[in-house]
Symmetry: C2
Subunit: 336 residues, 2 copies
């Protein structure tokens, strides 16, 4: 059965999956606020609605997809638990979702991860037998192989950070809530790493507002998805050098890319300097702490990569987890 409604081959998710995810997340995920800013509107000529996922549980939209995926585990899967590899927000999202669903979690993280991230992940796991952080050397070990081996040995279910239908559907609830709260939009801007967020959001948005343009935003240094759209197939790049650490992906997913091809109008890019300018805008004008990756979509609009005068524009602010010392340096000195 086609889930596209436009005659193409079936996509990994459809609007009903996002509705079902929203029901699962009800009362568990925060229904994050929508922020507005007279400064942002004056600067862009648009009416801008910022969906504040930096105020989501654990500080990023990732909780939505993680919880939705784990909530669909069978009783047998739940008993054995979940495994994930991530150095970023996905790790904490899985650890928190597992805790809430009372299942063990194993998180595979680089041995040189920032201590606060290790501590936060372990704090979510505390007191749950079978839960642990497994460290690996990212210069000598292959985390995918390690993850697969641990999953097989322990009978745990591996949940990848983006290329999974339940993860994608969960992320789409961010756009669903935004449009439910503010009404129809002309344009929706979403950051792109592996494509889970934009895939879910595009499906949700177009189901609610058929005419909406969904535009993805990548860091200039890591425009693999833009290249992939141009080429018509998934392009792999070297790990990009960018402060947007949540978008340092090397390629979009086998499940996310077809959705992006069909549902996303275009991908634009922004520079790290534009991300810093946007971090400052959020801090000074809106009093919000937003991580670099969380600034991608807003930067495209505020810094002029996308112009939308007179339009109603949604912007997904994806997360706010940032090292205080690095954040302080960006506020004070720019890119240095």
């Amino acid at each position: 059965m086609s889930r596209t409604g436009d005659g193409g081959p079936p996509l990994a998710i459809g609007p009903a999956d996002i509705e079902a995810a929203a029901a699962r997340l009800q009362g568990v995920a925060h229904r994050t606020p929508v922020l507005t800013s007279a400064s942002a509107d004056a600067r862009t000529g648009a009416r801008v609605y910022f969906k504040a996922e930096h105020l989501q549980r654990m500080g990023a939209f990732k909780f939505r997809g993680a919880f939705n995926a784990l909530a669909r585990f069978t009783p047998a899967q739940r008993e054995r638990g979940v495994i994930a590899y991530s150095s970023g927000n996905h790790a904490q999202a899985i650890a928190l979702a597992a805790r809430l669903l009372d299942m063990p979690s194993v998180i595979v993280m680089p041995h040189d991860s920032p201590p606060p991230k290790l501590a936060a992940t372990r704090a979510y796991q505390q007191g749950r037998p079978g839960s642990e952080v497994v460290l690996y050397d990212r210069y000598t070990e292959d985390r995918e192989a390690l993850g697969a081996r641990l999953a097989a040995e322990r009978g745990m279910t591996l949940i990848p950070p983006y290329d999974h239908p339940d993860v994608m559907a969960g992320q789409g609830t961010a756009a669903l809530e935004l449009i439910e709260d503010v009404g129809p939009l002309d344009l929706l801007l979403v950051c792109v790493g592996g494509g889970g967020l934009i895939a879910g959001c595009a499906v949700a948005a177009q189901a609610l507002c058929p005419g909406i343009a969904v535009v993805g935003v990548e860091p200039e240094a890591g425009d693999d998805t833009r290249q992939s759209l141009a080429r018509g197939e998934i392009v792999h790049i070297a790990t990009p050098q960018t402060i947007a650490d949540g978008a340092q992906t090397q390629h979009s997913g086998r499940l996310t890319f077809p959705v992006i091809q069909r549902r996303v109008r275009e991908i634009v890019t922004v520079s790290d300097a534009q991300l810093v300018a946007t971090m400052r805008f959020f801090a000074q004008r809106m009093k919000q702490v937003v991580e670099p990756t969380g600034c991608l979509a807003a930067a495209a609009l505020l810094e002029g990569a996308v112009r939308a005068p007179g339009q109603r524009v949604g912007v997904i602010v994806s997360g706010g987890n940032v090292d205080p010392a690095r954040y302080a340096a960006w506020l004070a000195d720019g890119l240095g």
Copy 2:
């Protein structure tokens, strides 16, 4: 007619003044959100409701009192306009309120004010004939005398930053909204500079929840109001050295102090180091940029000056206007 309801001499404001101010501010001031934090609740054992006045127009609660005062001007007063002296949030609040009410404003500011503050104030005045920033030398000139002379020469009405019934009543709408939104509270924590905010909030809170304890928070270095309560009369101190620049007042007001005496249970103090710790808590855990003065009330609870396990606690977060370089230094290095 007594406005106290408890037999004492009449106070400058009563609950009806705050209700009237709320009606004037409807649709003009933001009804700021109430933020909650699982981390704050876990740390304090209380259920904490943060009233987010750093998200108010111009970034601080001061807009409430300024607009309420100017909205009550007679047509003749409105034609001549308003004058205010302030190096802080009151200046911008008066300039913005005057712009919205289409009246001229003269703001007397120190000649060495931070350029962004001068620019922001002038931006609000732009295009309104008769509006200007008047600079004075704070080492050689008396701003009160200068303000009084300009007011007399130009027929303008001077609005002081706190010791004015309409200003006090306007500030009280912050507590009114908070309690309307979250229900009865056991304890309300409010920062204290000249006392306009806490006076208005205490009157509003006790009208809505008769049993509520209202506690004021001053910087350790500037505890004039605590001293005044102990002495039973207004104590004047030298300008205190504290990073909480909005609470660098030398004494509470003739109108605010009697309200504080009657309606506030006690005043506690916090150190600058505790303010920095609280700024970091807001940034890391709640992704909010809060200025030092805005952290006073929260610091009292989070850093343990006030303990309220099991209670429902309101905290007024008064503002978010902070120089990015200084803020960055506090996040990165502490008090240095």
